[in-house]
Amino acid sequence: MLIPHPLLGPRDAQEFVCLGDARLIERPDPAAADAEAAFCDYVFLRDNPAGVHRELWFHEHGDRSWLVVTRDTVTHAVLGAELARDVALARVGRAP
């Protein structure tokens, strides 16, 4: 399985560690009134879709980038990969 690293091109999946759902980027606001409930969902609950899934992969044996890899869990097709940092920056309204 090859992962299309946005900086390094196609890399073997063995170089990566998979963490799971990319929604882990969306850490709740600790100051919110319902912070504890929101963190409970964030820490313990994950979707398990059959189909397109966005996942966090860490290029541990490579350049140590965290990537958001879009993958089809039914066909195992890798549909794309982007730097998690860019995704996270876009979330806080900043340009990469």
Binding site: P30, F39, F58, E60, W66
Partner: protein, 977 residues
């Protein structure tokens, strides 16, 4: 007549080998099977269940019968197919599953009991008593019914693995594969051509048909020369592509040295992971037999195999043969063997309209109804319109048609489709993405069709990835149409074998049908059809045809079982790819490892690291003596310990302080430059995760440490926080664990020793107090970092130098501290010292404990957010009342056992009544008794109380007194002064 004229063997050289201790001779180019046949040997093994005599049946990897043990000693390899074993000097082979000898096998009595050994026999017979199965029945059955024996010794050979990438992988180098590879390579694509045989050509080597009017082998030879000029083409002989995996990844095994007696220094086999953008499946086809009574005698083989032995290997074990066929191809065997001087007694053709293609007798519309011969075929019984007759012959070639080798095409749940015209299964369109079947594997059975199909497949596959490949000029070849009659078995009273290796007969399939085991998956598992080392390559389709006939359905409706990798057996050794023993995972050595070895250290694996556990001295007979001495030296003089393995992460940037505040539950931004602070990390779920120190070298520069075990994980999490959670922070991190060697210098004389190596650095307590850090130089200019931190509770420092100077620094400290009693200590003494001091380590930070339990609850800042801060305040965690305490035996000489649960005196010893557990224990030389650490409910309020430590698993219990979790210098004077 045994060795014929011609063939593709090198008669200028002779190769000597043994089979069951008898010496034989063959030639380079022979397989074990061909050399034995050429020596007149038909009997090569005994069958699995009935111990019937068996001979070679096929000429390739589909062989079900001729399984042999190769080699001896640790190199003994059972269940090797004689048909694929390349002959080499000194080859040693033994037959299997016979006693005392191949020609006289005592367990052949099983054959007389055959009526009892039908399908499902074991399931029905050995039902009760239930306990007998594992203890009695199974061992007995395994001994009686068997294949080869394992050597039970470690594999002495080396294996390797490798990675390859290409535009086009061509599986198989027969006519279609060669045409595909040539087309693709000429177009400039990166091509890999993998062939399981040791010679390219496939069926071209086994047939007498010509290409452009010349022998086909001439074309192959010319092509091999042309291949040498194509650097973009990699030809891999002796390489079996055994499976298709996701994303165009193909698994292949290259038998690098199996054709040599001893691989020597090199590897024996290599596991290749081939990533191919496209692939052409040109794996050819496997002939299938027709089942008839007693069709398993040595001498009965596939007609195509008989032809291959005669044409390629110039081998025929007998003077007179016969052929039984339902298609035109069987006649080729008669024609070719006649041409080589073998007598053809008759060709029995199931088709009434069949005619001879040469000077031999044809029995049209005939069937073979029985055979004679105890250890080898002597005659066949034939029935036709003109009555029954017996025909003397020593070998019978059988052809029931050809099955495309479509296995790889069905590895991704592709379902083969039945073709009524060809009477065979063909690959469907839903196989692995990017895999194009070609040639006989796609049902193109004539040589001309195979050649053009291969070239067209390459053009099509490359066109999909934007490479324009024009089909190259192909030689003129035979283009005979494929004609076959659907005959799969000859009905009769006696046993007719379908699966030779697993002893499945037509009767067994009928029994499965009668007992309603009719779906193909049930049929397979009930009868074991197709479950041998050959995976039923010659048996499956015939078995399905018989079941289809019984159920009245078509073969297409009956369907096939699912093919899975591997295509042919793959040894576990090569799947390991050499990653065994010390190479199972990386082994990391601290900078002082070689020095420690020279000191006679005993080592222990700590994660990937090899760490010195203790340094025994002459006269010390028990490890405790060394550990007690080392711990005492630290308390009374000075000790040295390589602590390089602790994770070190360099954190720099304008927001370094803010970043660390969000990672650690306590505040690190208020740390002054030149100072060190203990830091505790939580997991996002609020539990304690890891601890270490943070040293601030500049406003924008920290060095933090982690535990040895979590070094990689903490770094990964820090990168996650930096890139995914707070990408707006200006901070960079890098792991420097391997860059700096770090040595703990601990004990009351630590300052005296260090003063002898620093370059004028002021170590005075006022200038460099407890929890200070600084960059400095030592030993006359060597760049270093010094931290005044203590894990042992003594006056202690950790000094770091670039890793390549680690060993030199250790040697210098040992030399300069000799008069101070300097003593190296290992991980055992390190552990004793930290338990005495009550410091938490892995056993306390086990993922079940909170900061409060560790006695560090007040460290969790309530003023700021950090990973785990919100969840650490949730009710369940905040309410956990366990607290870290020290434990001492009440009785003199009593023990403290780690893992034991703690109970109030008199309480029931149930899990519900457990009030905690012991995390760490040791003998304390300082206290002079056993001590321990553990978590105890409300433990901080129970000092002096006696609790019971119970060990229900191993039995035993002890009374322990609860004491503060610090057994040495609780005021901390030693480490501060």
């Amino acid at each position: 007549m045994t060795r014929l004229a011609g063939g593709l063997i090198d008669r200028t050289q002779t190769v000597t080998f043994t089979f069951d201790g008898t010496r034989y001779q063959g030639h380079p180019g022979d397989t074990l099977a061909s050399a034995l046949l050429a020596a007149g040997v038909r009997l090569m093994g005994r069958s699995f269940k009935y111990h019937r005599p068996r001979g070679v049946f096929a000429a390739g990897s589909e062989e079900p019968n001729a399984l042999v043990e190769l080699g001896s000693g640790a190199r003994r390899e059972p269940n090797s197919r004689a048909t694929t074993v390349e002959l080499h000097e000194g080859l040693e082979a033994h037959s299997q599953n016979r006693w005392p000898a191949l020609s006289f096998d005592a367990l052949a009595v099983n054959d007389l009991l055959a009526p009892f050994f039908t399908a499902g026999f074991y399931y029905k017979t050995f039902m009760w008593p239930k306990a007998f199965w594992e203890r009695l029945y199974e061992p007995l059955i395994r001994r009686a019914a068997g294949l080869g024996r394992l050597s039970m010794q470690a594999d002495p050979d080396a294996y390797d693995k490798g990675f390859l990438h290409c535009d086009l992988l061509v599986v198989g180098a027969g006519p279609s594969g060669l045409a595909a590879a040539l087309t693709a390579a000429r177009a400039g694509a990166r091509v890999i051509l993998a062939e399981e045989d040791f010679r390219l050509g496939g069926r071209l080597l086994a047939e007498t048909g010509t290409l452009d009017g010349a022998p086909a082998v001439d074309w192959v030879t010319a092509l091999e020369a042309a291949f040498a000029d194509l650097p973009n083409l990699r030809v891999m002989r002796r390489t079996t592509v055994f499976g298709v995996f996701d994303h165009g990844v193909y698994g292949a095994v290259e038998r690098v040295a199996d054709h040599r007696r001893d691989p020597g220094e090199g590897v024996r086999q290599t596991l290749w992971r081939i990533t191919a953008r496209r692939a052409v499946l040109a794996a050819g086809a496997t002939e299938r037999p027709i089942a008839f009574a007693d069709n398993d005698r040595p001498g009965i083989m596939l007609a195509g195999a008989m032809r291959a032995y005669a044409n390629r290997w110039a081998a025929c074990p007998v003077d007179t043969i016969a052929v039984y066929t339902n298609n035109d191809d069987g006649h080729r065997t008669a024609v070719d063997l006649l041409a080589r001087g073998v007598q053809v007694a008759a060709v029995i053709d199931a088709r009434a309209e069949a005619t001879a293609r040469g000077d031999y007798r044809v029995i049209a519309g005939g069937a073979v109804t029985g055979t004679r011969g105890r250890l080898g075929l002597s005659a066949i019984e034939v029935r036709s319109d003109r009555g029954a007759e017996r025909i003397a012959c020593g070998a019978l070639g059988v052809s029931g048609g050809w099955n495309p080798n479509l296995h790889l095409a069905s590895h991704h749940r592709g379902r083969p489709l039945w073709d009524e015209t060809l009477q065979t299964f063909l690959p469907d369109a839903h196989g692995p993405a990017g895999l194009v079947p070609a040639g006989a594997a796609a049902g193109a059975f004539s040589t001309a069709a195979a050649l053009s199909s291969g070239a067209a497949a390459a053009t099509r596959a490359l066109g999909e990835i934007g490479i324009d490949a024009a089909p190259c000029a192909l030689p003129e070849a035979e283009a005979a149409p494929w004609r076959i009659a659907p005959v799969f078995h000859v009905p009769g009273r006696k046993r007719a074998w379908v699966d030779f290796q697993n002893e499945v007969t037509v009767k067994d399939i009928a029994l499965a049908h009668a007992e309603n085991m009719r779906p193909v998956e049930h049929l397979k598992r009930y009868t074991t059809l197709g479950m041998g080392t050959d995976q039923g390559k010659t048996a499956n389709v015939t078995g399905l045809a018989v079941m289809a006939e019984l159920t009245g359905r078509t073969i297409g409706e009956t369907g096939t079982t699912v093919f899975r990798p591997p295509y042919t057996p793959v040894s576990l050794s090569v799947l390991g790819g050499g990653d065994t023993g010390p190479y199972f995972r990386p082994r990391r050595l601290p900078p002082t490892h070689r020095w420690a070895e020279a000191q006679g250290a005993v080592f222990v694996e700590v994660g990937q690291w090899m760490r010195a556990q203790y340094f025994p001295r002459p006269g010390e007979t028990h490890w405790r003596q060394a550990v007690d001495r080392e711990a005492a030296a630290v308390r009374s003089a000075v000790g040295l310990c390589d602590v390089t393995t602790l994770g070190k992460i360099d954190v720099q940037g304008a927001d370094a302080a803010a970043f660390l505040d969000r990672l650690y539950c306590n505040t690190l931004s208020t740390l002054k430059v030149g100072r060190v602070r203990y830091g505790l990390m939580l997991r996002e779920d609020g539990f304690a995760y890891d601890d270490g120190t943070a040293a601030r070298f500049a406003d924008d520069h920290y060095v933090v440490t982690t535990t040895t075990a979590n070094a990689g994980l903490v770094y990964r999490n820090m990168e996650f926080a930096r890139q995914c959670l707070w990408p707006e922070l200006d901070v960079q991190i890098v792991s420097t664990t391997d860059a700096w060697a770090q040595i703990a210098v601990a004990g009351p004389k630590a300052r005296t020793l260090l003063a002898r190596i620093v370059d004028g650095f002021d170590l005075d307590n006022a200038a460099f107090p407890f929890m200070a850090c600084s960059a400095l130089t030592v030993c006359g200019g060597l760049r270093a970092r010094l931290f005044r931190i203590s894990f042992s509770g003594e006056l202690a420092y950790e000094i770091a130098v670039p890793a390549r100077y680690g060993q030199a620094l250790m040697e210098r400290l040992m030399a300069r501290g000799a008069d101070l009693g300097v003593t190296p200590y290992g991980t055992e003494a390190l552990s004793v010292l930290r338990i005495e001091k009550g410091h938490a380590a892995g056993a306390e930070l086990n993922g079940q404990t909170t900061a409060a339990m560790l006695g560090l609850g007040r460290m969790v800042s309530q003023k700021k957010d950090a990973i785990g801060a919100v969840m650490s305040r949730r009710e369940g965690l905040a309410g956990d009342a366990g607290r870290l305490v020290g434990l001492r035996p009440v009785e003199d000489g009593g023990a403290v056992v780690g893992g034991a649960h703690l109970f109030a005196e008199g309480a029931a010893r149930t899990l519900a009544g457990s009030e905690g557990w012991i995390t760490s224990s040791c003998h304390s030389p300082h206290v002079g008794a056993a001590i321990g650490l553990g978590f105890l409910e409300r433990g901080d309020a129970r000092m002096g109380e006696v609790v019971v430590a119970a060990n229900p698993l191993e039995g035993g219990s002890a009374r322990l007194r609860v004491v503060p979790a610090c057994f040495v210098d609780p005021e901390g004077g030693r480490l501060r002064d």
